[in-house]
Amino acid sequence: MNGKPLVSIVSAGLSKFGKNEGLYARELFADAVKEALDRCPRLDPKRDIKAMFVGHMGEAYEHQGHMGAAAADWAGLLNIPATRTEAACASSGAALRSGIYAVLSGLADVVLVGGVEKMTHRTTAEVTEYLAMASDYPFEQWHGITFPGLYALMAKAHMHRYGTTEAQLAAVAVKNHYHGTFNPKAHMQKEITVETVLASRVVASPLKLYDCSLITDGASCIILTKPELARRFTDQPVHIIGSGQASDTIGLYERQSLTSLLAARLAAKTAYDMAEAKPEDIDVAELHDCFTIAEIIAYEDLGFCPAGKGGALAESGETRLGERLPINTSGGLKAKGHPVGATGTAQAYEIYLQLTGQAERRQVKDAKVGLTHNVGGSGATAAVHIYRSNQQ
């Protein structure tokens, strides 16, 4: 972990995740920005913030495109360059990556990156249709393959190849719901059992309702600056020491593998190399558990276990809070919720709290190095970031 800081996080904010009835996306975003500003009184938003990138996946939800400007407008950040980034469920992972480009280019010393999605006012059928837009239209959507369907195809292939079981998938959901009970901002804050998961209704076999992340409203943001300026704004910056983003075929069917995401492996390699870090160095990680199988595949793609052993790792309990490698202490997409555009920087928010000792009842003891893994669609985009606390 000798990698030099690329940029430093000086603050972060998160709206309540859940069913935020009557709140518009830009209003949720303003909530997240307000928390970030309150945490960082030495930063003057109108003087210091020079650019903004906002992850937002779908115009269809609110009949609202152009979210960069709309979110800046409602967040009191009018007139700065404000751009929406869209990479499906990795939209704000891509916003974070764009913010790093902006700071490192020298064009903007302080950049706010975030994301937002307002989803719960739509019916499940509508959300199913909108989410599917992240997949290939002519050969996936056109033939009735849904978003859970794509992950179900991966789950079935993983089970067939490695013997992964439905109970191992369920273990991911049980753990993340347990973690959600310690997060007052999580959508679901209730423990569940393996039996609950296995008995829940089938969405796309073998995935059941409790294998799926939640349809959630929410917003998130973090504020980035050059490492040499960080102390001007906070005594407790968190440094980003590795950043990787990669893409792959838009259609799942054209991939080399149905049991691993090449984009995630490439993004992870770039991030690990930049950070001069290894999987064993990671103390806490937020992984893209849009479906339980996705967390199992992520364990393997990130090198937390060998290929094919992700199911066993999930079942071992080693990724629970208090154990060797706590994964998704926030509750993950599974229990905290998955407002798709907000997810990437919501993961960064959790790691920021963990590495500054502010994660309260879900604090990982002595956490110094964190990782986020944000996936777009069925894996056509992946962004991996590695973070280090300011204490050496």
Partner: protein, 133 residues
């Protein structure tokens, strides 16, 4: 069949209505593209020829979809899968004529060009499906 037909998704579906499963083969590097594409992602050539592919293949993975978008709700639950054809080409689609218990990874399937009519203005594509061979 004309070799001058554009190597597009639109043309792929036109051939399907004629009962043909057609891929584009790059005449420079030999890479076979299914679906066809107008720019070879391997060597950047735009020179292709059409290659008819057998519609017989093996099931790589499958799922039975229970929660469907509006457009497909009348069909739910329905099976979908990815089929491996000759030359290692993959094609996803619905699978008809088999119950979930009958579906097995590795089973032989064949494309069925029997199509549903499409009333919408765009796209004017037919829907193929796969059936047990």
């Amino acid at each position: 069949m004309s070799d001058t037909a554009p190597f597009t998704i639109e043309q792929f579906y036109k051939y399907l209505t004629e009962g043909k499963l057609m891929a584009g083969k790059c005449t420079r590097c030999g890479k076979i593209h299914l679906p066809p594409r107008p720019l070879c992602d391997n060597c950047y050539s735009q020179q292709f020829e059409w290659l008819e592919i057998s519609g017989q293949g093996k099931l790589l993975t499958y799922s039975v979809i229970h929660i469907a978008p509006q457009q497909f709700q009348a069909l739910a639950p329905y099976a979908v899968g990815i089929v491996e054809l000759e030359n290692g080409l993959h094609l996803p689609g619905m699978i008809q004529g088999a119950t979930e218990e009958q579906l097995k990874i590795g089973m032989e399937l064949a494309i069925d060009f029997g199509t549903c009519s499409t009333a919408q203005p765009w796209p004017k594509w037919p829907r193929y499906c796969f059936k047990p061979a």
